[in-house]
């Protein structure tokens, strides 16, 4: 039919001035069997494009529905709980240690105090003795 037409289209095709519709015409034309010899050398190119368009992506894509974000938030919460726990736990520990130290000091001080009291009692006896001694001396 349209050798001239096709030739003209081809010329414009290689200058890249054809429209998508015209290129579609060319592609369809070259899929036919009865292509004249002088045009036949262009056929593989157009046939290749048609074949290349048939290629499909067949791999399955694993789409995870939202789980990811939940895990993220849970981990953030867990970490914050852990950090607060450590912080306040340490505070509590320190307080307990301070209390223990206070108790120990008090115990030690009271021990000292009782021993000191006993010491003064003895000194009281000594004074009594001294007074009696003085009395005896004075009498003599």
């Amino acid at each position: 039919m349209e050798f001239n037409n096709i030739e003209k289209l081809l010329e414009r095709y290689f200058e890249a001035t054809t429209t998508v519709a015209e290129e579609e015409m060319l592609r369809e034309y070259f899929l036919r069997e009865d292509i004249p010899l002088h045009l036949k050398r262009h056929a593989p190119m157009f046939q290749y494009f048609s074949v290349a368009k048939e290629e499909r992506f067949t791999k399955q894509v694993p789409l995870k529905p939202r789980k990811k974000s939940y895990i993220k938030w849970i981990s953030i919460a867990a970490v914050s709980v852990l950090v607060f726990g450590i912080y306040f736990g340490r505070n509590y520990q320190e307080q307990r240690e301070a209390e223990y130290a206070y108790q120990e000091t008090r115990k030690a001080l009271s021990l000292l105090a009782t021993n000191l009291g006993r010491g003064t009692e003895k000194v009281a006896y000594l004074r009594e003795f001294e007074e009696t001694k003085q009395k005896i001396y004075n009498r003599n």
Binding site: V20, R41, H42, P44, M45, V51, E54, L63
Partner: protein
């Protein structure tokens, strides 16, 4: 956005992403991985997707950038792409056309084209994009796209003729 809804959005153009990735990365496995990566990125951005009126263009752009980055890091790492899968696709159609050799030649010829021409040819002659769409996708002017396309088509024609002649001699 639910999974089925997402798939409905993505389904019409996922093969285009794959074909562009395969054109750039050559290897089938690499292209599959790249496409999967892109789809997963889209899935993670699914809230943003609803705001885009042209998800396909956005996805194509992502694929292009992803593949170019891949290629760049490959070159830096001095790794060679493995491609041993020229003839496994569409065997029946090729046999039917009885020009299987010529078809795989064209694939090889396209491989040798400069990256930009490769992409222009892929987008125009395989995916039938308009010049404006290609220009936007590749960040070129429409005229530059036209020039690159013309060059790419002529190169393919010349190399094909060359190979035919060698075949005869």
């Amino acid at each position: 956005m639910q999974q089925t809804e997402f798939l409905n959005v993505v389904l019409p153009f996922k093969d285009k992403l794959y074909r562009l990735a395969k054109r750039l990365l050559v290897s089938k496995e690499e292209a599959e991985d790249a496409t999967q990566e892109i789809l997963m990125k889209l899935w993670s951005k699914k809230k943003m997707i609803t705001g885009y009126n042209n998800v396909e263009a956005y996805a194509m752009m992502m694929t292009k950038n992803f593949c170019l980055d891949r290629l760049k890091s490959k070159q830096a790492g001095n790794l060679k792409l493995v491609h041993s899968n020229y003839k496994d696709e569409n065997v029946s159609l090729q046999n039917q056309l009885e020009v299987s050799d010529s078809l795989s030649w064209i694939e090889k010829i396209m491989e040798e084209l400069p990256q930009q021409q490769k992409m222009v040819l892929q987008l125009r002659d395989v995916e039938q994009y308009e010049f404006e769409e290609i220009a936007e996708l590749l960040g070129m002017s429409a005229t530059a796209v036209r020039v690159a396309l013309s060059r790419a088509r002529k190169t393919v024609r010349e190399k094909l003729v060359q190979k035919h002649n060698y075949g005869i001699q």
